[in-house]
Amino acid sequence: MKDSMYGRFGGQFVPETLMPALTELEDAYKLYKDDPRFLKELGNYMKEFGGRRTPLYYAANLSKKYGIRIYLKREDLVHGGAHKLNNTLGQALLARYMGKERIIAETGAGQHGTATAMAAANMGFKAEVYMGAKDVMRQHMNVYRMELMGCEVHAVRSGSMTLKDAINEALRDWVTNVQNTHYLIGSVVGPHPYPMIVRDFQSVIGKEVREQILEKEGRLPDSIVACAGGGSNAMGIFHPFIKDENVMLYPVEAGGEELKNTDREALHSSSLCIGEEGILQGAHTLILQDRYGQILESSSVSAGLDYSGVGPELAHLADIGRITPCNVSDHEALEAFYELSRMEGIIPALESSHAVAYVMKTAETGKLGDLVVINLSGRGDKDLETVFRLRESKEGEETKTVEDKKEPDNKINDKEVCL
């Protein structure tokens, strides 16, 4: 097996222009990843700037309701509000050691873009972020956040104008400016060595969980549940447990409206669950595609999970049966968003709400065991507008239904529950 492969997945399917840059990056990473000076500096950034280590929080109310012990890994408390900063600090520091002057990144919802802007501003890089024009509209507060920190945001108008197209455009920029620019990929996707580098920088999550759960419970968890779009928070929390075969690992994908594809689009983002093998943005992995291999546009209520591919290592781990891919619908994720907010006083990101929803949905079956860790990968403040919009449109529909069906009592109760 080549170094660049995870089983039969992975690889480096990129234009020839980028091959030397990938080699340079891999060499630099190997040189610095165990260098005490690099590690000390990174550790310092993670602690003093990022706010690590994050708590492993025992969710007592949730545990009581579902009859199992549920812990939340509080990545929502990392500076910026999501796990994304773990990776951007690591890669930006690496870029500095490599002598790069400029950093580019892609972003979907804007979380990775924001984390990139933070690391870049702090370390003195010029940063430019590519973001689909649709996402720029949907997430304008994040655009403003990035701009506040001195980052230039480019709205990408090609293709579906979302994350996939932002990555394409960042790759095009990198092909053009490869000599002075580091491309700071935000997930465990893309060509090798990115899936490995991002996984390693995110593994701090799993390493901390291991220490913390041993401190608190004196044993490893029965299952770990994390949402997966590209899969960086999932790989980050899973990786230190891969060899512990008694710990079950559940990546939860976005089931969207329905687990179904039309000619041009998927109504979900579940590439691990029902994707097919193919090559997307540098890697052989599982992707959503039509019968000819054209990439389908994906869909999810959560912008951070809305991606047509998934990290190649996750595809491999699913292939050998080490992880158990699953998914929850938009609706289930939203319910979990409300329930966690109400029961624990923690507003989760819509992405992380998928992981929470899966535990709520399956706890009773017993298959998760008695001790479960959920990666709460981000906080939900960024999603309030989306959630309010969805509720308004739902209420609109319900009012209509109410008028149609004349069943006002039920609906009013529903609304109260929502509040």
Binding site: G11, G159, D165, N168, T176, L280, Y292, Q294, I295
Partner: protein
């Protein structure tokens, strides 16, 4: 027609080659057939027929938009091979596409479909030599040339290993970046042409859009120029397409004639 035959024919006349790219199915199958005819009439020696992909990372806006138009108009690999088989021009046809479309069809079937529809070369901009083993074997079995790219940042060591696999011609990317028209082409091109001692012809592409640039590249020692976005822009304009395509091909070809 095989690519080597065409270069041998040009060599006898001491001419250099004009390789023209257009995106198949942009704006329709019928239009593409007429455009290919116009290109050949104007003097194109080899025609690259792009098989459009939804996510063309190596292409600039001009070819991205052409790909989108072609896909919207219904182009797909089945139609593509049908169309290629119906083109009867006395030039080699080359397929330029992205690897997922090849992987999905199966490398063997893809190479076989090329061979049986008269396509004698394949260019895959997102398939570096390290990943090309399977397709390379399939191409060899089916008598199709797999054409590799080298760029100004490709090391001498890589160039050597790529040359070991190269057939048809070597695609030299004139400068860093994506496809598209540019004003500066010559600088890094000369350097890379000098670095390469190739047994297959050298063809320079990315950024060449007029006869002056073509002349510079030929003068710098290239055996061929590859022109894409300039033709695609004419197609996008929808204005007097066939005659303008023919005229531009003719103009650029003049720079390639001894």
């Amino acid at each position: 027609m095989r690519i080597a035959e065409k270069f041998a024919e040009l060599k006898r006349r001491k001419d250099k080659a004009l390789i023209a790219y257009v995106c198949a199915g942009d704006p329709s199958v019928e239009a593409t057939k007429e455009i290919v005819h116009a290109l050949v009439k104007g003097g194109a020696d080899i025609v690259e027929l792009g098989l459009p992909f939804s996510d063309p990372v190596a292409d600039g806006p001009t070819i991205q938009e052409a790909s989108t138009r072609a896909l919207k108009a219904g182009m797909n690999p089945d139609l593509y091979f049908e169309m290629a088989a119906s083109i009867h021009e006395n030039v080699p046809l080359i397929c330029m596409t992205y690897y997922n479309l090849i992987y999905k069809r199966g490398t063997e079937k893809f190479a076989r479909d090329c061979a049986s529809s008269g396509i004698t070369g394949i260019i895959v901009p997102d398939l570096p030599s390290e990943e090309s083993g399977e397709l390379h074997e399939a191409c060899k079995r089916n008598g199709v040339d797999l054409i590799f790219l080298v760029t100004p940042v490709t090391s001498d060591l890589r160039i050597k290993s790529i040359l070991g696999m190269a057939s048809g011609f070597l695609y030299i990317v004139s400068r860093l970046g994506v496809t598209g028209q540019r004003t500066d082409v010559a600088g890094s091109t000369k350097d890379i042409l000098n670095r390469i001692d190739s047994r297959v012809p050298k063809a320079v592409g990315f950024g060449i859009s007029n006869k002056e640039q073509a002349a510079e590249v030929i003068h710098a020692g290239s055996d061929a120029v590859i022109v894409g976005s300039a033709f695609v822009s004419i197609i996008a304009s929808g204005d007097n397409v066939n005659s303008r395509i023919e005229r531009l091909a003719h103009e650029i070809k003049q720079s390639c004639i001894n």
